[in-house]
């Protein structure tokens, strides 16, 4: 029992060790290579990093829930884009013209509602057809993205509401609005997964679906709720981000699903379900953002960043595997 607990503690702590390593590396390397004279570990830089982590991070919390549940959602990037368009476009709709700045909460609600419904639709299909979530959301990823392009062709959808921009750029107790949203979502999903019956059932379903069914857990509704939650969070992420930027391109959010899944997996969630938590995911999100920012800081371009993150993902999973089989006389594959 002991070695198992140890390796799990190592596996859970690994992501934080990795973050510390990154910080040290980029601080040291940055002092030689960086073109800017600002230190990497600068306080403002770190706060900015947290804020920049928010769009991916908010969705990653939902992905943790969905993956622990034994599913996956590839459509989050497309949902993100649709929610963004709904947010920005709805503020210009004539029926809301008389609302003044009250259009903001209406647009927010509308956008969140659309995201939730798109997620729930994924869940409903997975539940009722029994088709694997990977396939279902691969389909909806393409389908939802198609809707984005149908809406405005290749053109961006833009609308700036200065009250909204002010809100999004505001800071409270030193943290940006987006950072607060990320922290609140992390706390909320942590509570849901660790403390509620729904959350525990989600673990059970992901761990051993047959056992869950035999125990009378209604697997389908639980899965659909989790898909609705990730849809909601994809929309929330869009709402937080586009309140500030005010313009959405039809390609926005592409590859988000992969970044999100990378963060979740780095954070220790089992790809087959049943194990994982949002604290680890939070670490995964920060680790990726650090890497992107840090590599930028020392002058690497985007393509290098992707290459490095790809390598690190494989290395981390390999390490995890080694930790978990260490001590056993392994059977060769």
């Amino acid at each position: 029992m002991q070695p198992n607990t140890l390796s799990r503690a190592l596996a859970n702590g690994a992501i934080w060790g990795f973050i510390v390593l990154e910080l040290i590396f980029f601080s040291v390397a940055g002092s030689y290579l960086s073109i800017s004279d600002q230190a990497f570990m600068d306080y403002d830089n770190m706060l900015l990093l947290l804020k920049q982590s928010a769009p991916i991070g908010i969705i990653a919390m939902g992905m943790t829930l969905v993956m622990v549940n034994g599913n996956i959602d590839l459509s989050v990037g497309a949902t993100f884009a649709i929610a963004a368009i709904v947010l920005l476009d709805s503020m210009t709709w004539p029926i809301f013209a008389g609302l003044g700045d009250w259009v903001i909460p209406v647009a927010w609600l509308l956008s969140l509602l659309v995201g939730t419904l798109l997620g729930a639709l994924n869940g409903l299909i997975v539940w009722k057809t029994g088709v694997d979530a990977f396939i279902v959301t691969l389909g909806s990823m393409l389908g939802y993205r198609g809707i984005v392009f149908m809406f405005n062709g290749e053109n961006p959808t833009s609308h700036l509401n200065w009250t909204l921009v002010d809100f999004a750029e505001a800071e409270f107790l030193g943290l940006a609005t987006a950072s607060w949203f990320l922290l609140a979502v992390t706390a909320g999903i942590w509570f849901l997964m660790a403390r509620t019956v729904h959350g525990r059932n989600a673990y059970a379903i992901g761990d051993n679906r047959e056992a869950a069914v035999n125990a009378g857990i209604r697997v389908g509704p639980h899965m659909m709720i989790n898909f609705a939650i990730i849809g909601f969070l994809a929309a929330l992420s869009a709402v937080v981000f586009y309140s500030e930027s005010g313009s959405v391109n039809p390609n926005d959010g592409q590859l988000y699903e992969l970044w999100v899944i990378t963060a979740v997996v780095l954070g220790g969630t089992k790809i087959t379900g049943g194990a994982g938590n949002v604290i680890g995911t939070f670490g995964g999100v920060i680790a990726i953002q650090l890497l992107r920012k840090g590599l930028g800081h020392i002058g690497a371009d985007t393509s290098t960043v992707n290459l490095v993150i790809g390598l690190i993902l494989i290395a981390v999973l390999f390490l995890d595997r080694q930790l978990n089989i260490k001590g056993k006389e392994e059977l060769k594959v």
Partner: protein
Amino acid sequence: MTDAKPVLHLDNIVKTFPGVRALDDVSFSVMPGEVHALMGENGAGKSTLMKVLGGIYQPDGGAIYMGDERVVMAGPLEAKAKGIVFIHQELSLAEELSVAENIYLGELPRKSFGRVDWGLLTEKTNAILKKLNVGFDARTRVGDLSIANQQMVEIARALTVDAKAVIFDEPTASLTDAEKVVLFDVISDLKADGVGIIYISHRMEEIFKITDRISILRDGQYQGTVNTSDTTEESLTQMMIGRKLDLSRNASHHELGDVALEVRGLSCGKLYSDVSFQVRRGEVVGFYGLVGAGRTEIAETLFGLRDAHSGQILLDGEEVRINSPADAIQRGISLVPEDRKGQGLVLGMNCRDNMTLPQVDDLTAGPFVAEGAEVAIFDQYRDRLDIRTPGWKQQVGNLSGGNQQKIVIGKWLSMHPSVLIVDEPTRGIDVGSKSEIHKLLRELAAQGYAVMVISSEMPEVLHVSDRIVAMYSGRIMRTFTSEEVTEDSLIQAISGLGGDKAA
């Protein structure tokens, strides 16, 4: 017992599937405080009957009574609510969750906002665990428990409901002897509480040890119920297969050939250490021991699946290194694995393709697979091993266990091995096909193969082996010849009691 009302009475249950009458007028009763064994070959209808009882299948005829009341099991949950609890052979647990969460899976106590009431959950769980007298607590992660303790979790789950009848389906399949004792204690406690127990098992010793009555099914038909104290193993077997089974000792009468396989001082960490033995051509050497004694691991090493840390392997007197199964096959070692469906066969493929799987690289005509040659090989071994299948196109998954095992054996024979290692040759195979497999193993030895048989069933080891290697905890305790071996000395050797270490 006669004046009490049965806790469970099955009355003329009929269940038909397209083309098969799976259950034909099956009736039997379980009294309170009785351990009632249900026996029969695989395919006799035991699982179908239990699925009817569990509400997974609806019977086409007949009725189920609990006490005086006729009941209809609409589904698994309803069966559970009525106090019928199943302890399945294959554990149905969520390994990453705690013991408490597994026991109350689907029924976690709630507080406001859908929160789990951890305090109440832990309290209720610990109360049950205390009753079972186990050495772990509510918060232990299930994946960290041994198989036996995991089974205790399943049993604890049964105790959360007011169980009237508990069905144990092959509960001892993966337990050690010590763990069995604990299990039997739990069963006798349940018995003392007036719970009716249905005990499904193939293991005669257990049946005679713990059951009160035995009901037998054959081909979906009820063969009768006997008092355990009034019957014998022989008559039970006869009821199950409709004829007598030959389980006599069976030493070779032919001349043994040279030593084909020799192992010297082979060790692999904690799994096994300092293992030395020889297998001659024409000989069947049985490896007997408890689960975890290291027998399968030795076989895996010989087949190149697992590296030994030290020691030598000699084939025909020449030291060899076996780094992979490909190496092993090329040198004439074949392994018929323990888990036939998981490791031995590709269930979705047909009989012919399974049979020729290891040599399909060589069966080619230009760039293509030579299907004709494949069929020829299949036909040859179908006839030689008497494999009963409608044709080579049949999917292996649809064959009976015995015929599946013959396909695996045929697959290796077609590679012309010199050493054949067979791990649990008759696991999950019904009694009738069992004796065919035994006969086949004897014949193969007579034809000059060196055969290693690993088995956890004593009658099987005694029946097929010329010599028996008794293992305990990774070490060879003693090697017996079939003339000198007795059941007692064998049991002593594999329990680590007595028995000088000699190879």
